[in-house]
Symmetry: C2
Subunit: 226 residues, 2 copies
Amino acid sequence: MKLKTEKTGAGVDGRQRKRVDQKQVLMRAQNTEKLLKAGERVFSIRGFDGATTAEIAKKAGVSKSTLHYYFGTKEEIYEAVMNRILDLWVSALEEIDADVEPHVAIQNYVARKIEYSRIYPEPTRLWAMEMTGGARHFQAELRQRVFDIVEEKCNVIDGWIAAGKMEPVNPHHLLFLLWASTQTLAEDAAQAEMVLKKSALDKGDFEDARQLATRIFLRGLNLNNT
Amino acid sequence: MKLKTEKTGAGVDGRQRKRVDQKQVLMRAQNTEKLLKAGERVFSIRGFDGATTAEIAKKAGVSKSTLHYYFGTKEEIYEAVMNRILDLWVSALEEIDADVEPHVAIQNYVARKIEYSRIYPEPTRLWAMEMTGGARHFQAELRQRVFDIVEEKCNVIDGWIAAGKMEPVNPHHLLFLLWASTQTLAEDAAQAEMVLKKSALDKGDFEDARQLATRIFLRGLNLNNT
DNA sequence: AATAAGGTTGACCAATTGGTCAGTCTTATG
DNA sequence: CATAAGACTGACCAATTGGTCAACCTTATT
């Protein structure tokens, strides 16, 4: 039940306080990580309301009191979890780069996004749940961050269009379609498993989805003639 | 429909007194409708766990006890709500018809699905939440119903392919893409509003989405040359 | 050893909530 | 009117849960 850890430091001479602080900082980081990971899992299954701090704490291997020592309230740990997911969400958009040809960028974005959704299904689902639930826990700062990065990427797409590299298209709606198409397999895994009569999706399913999505988007945007 | 009326064994006296008159039946139908409508709204915002029977009852204009008189448990009203949504979900699939040319069918399906998502955003969101949350409240019967209808429609698509009317494509994944693409605006309205800096999406947004999705799917599937 | 300071937790509390129940109200029928 | 059956509800209860707190533990420093 304790996060104990394999302590025992080889060189525990305890001369400098600084070393201890480092150790404490490390422990804190580890516990924080465990709690955030557990939070991702529990929140992504039960949603904000359905999740209990007790279950998160248990899954992280600490007491509920410890969770509340690290994160004052349930909202606080939830926001910390969401913040982290936003980083992931933003990082995938790196592929939308003005210096890259649109057909390559979109191909890579689709691939990366689907790969993320396969590797990180819980953050993917949690993000979806938050949006579907009205983004009630998204503060102004997070909203602004989302808006800014999306605006930037829309400008990239408009740039491609202006440069004649791509047919005119509403960049916002293109992004909406890309997001939906690349997340659905993780987001609606239950639905896919129901339809495919599988107990779990495998790598091949995601690869099939990637190929179909890539094909449809590239040809659909008239970008496949390269 | 399946409003389980717990009839009581009133007929023990041998004669089924038909106390239930038309007015009562009407009232029951009206109240049931109000409760299901309220349930849709509250569940779609708060999720199963976050919703309270008290809030649903209040929104329906009856007491919590009345809700529990109509639906024994929270699960029961939730399932009734989901059942209804499944009807809607299934009805849209009517467009996928073997007697219709694929480019027409897909165009109509996209249009109908997006229109549904605009007119019925709450059922749309609730369905999405249920799937994202792992379809934990979907009983075997509902699962089978989903499987059967989807299997049927996949056969239609395979039929189009066999008839040379359409390029080979994995029909399941095509449906996944269609679902995701046509629901995202309602499902992720909060995200879209964040990105578009709007307080609410309007008809034009859905029309833009429809046009782009139609264009990309038809051309992406090489169906636009008909 | 003594001190200090942060880390950890069991026990506990107040609020919420799903569900129950006894009793009241309404209305068709005899 | 009297009856009976369903419709309806306020009051209530047991369980859950977010959050608190005093006590205890661990460890570096003096």
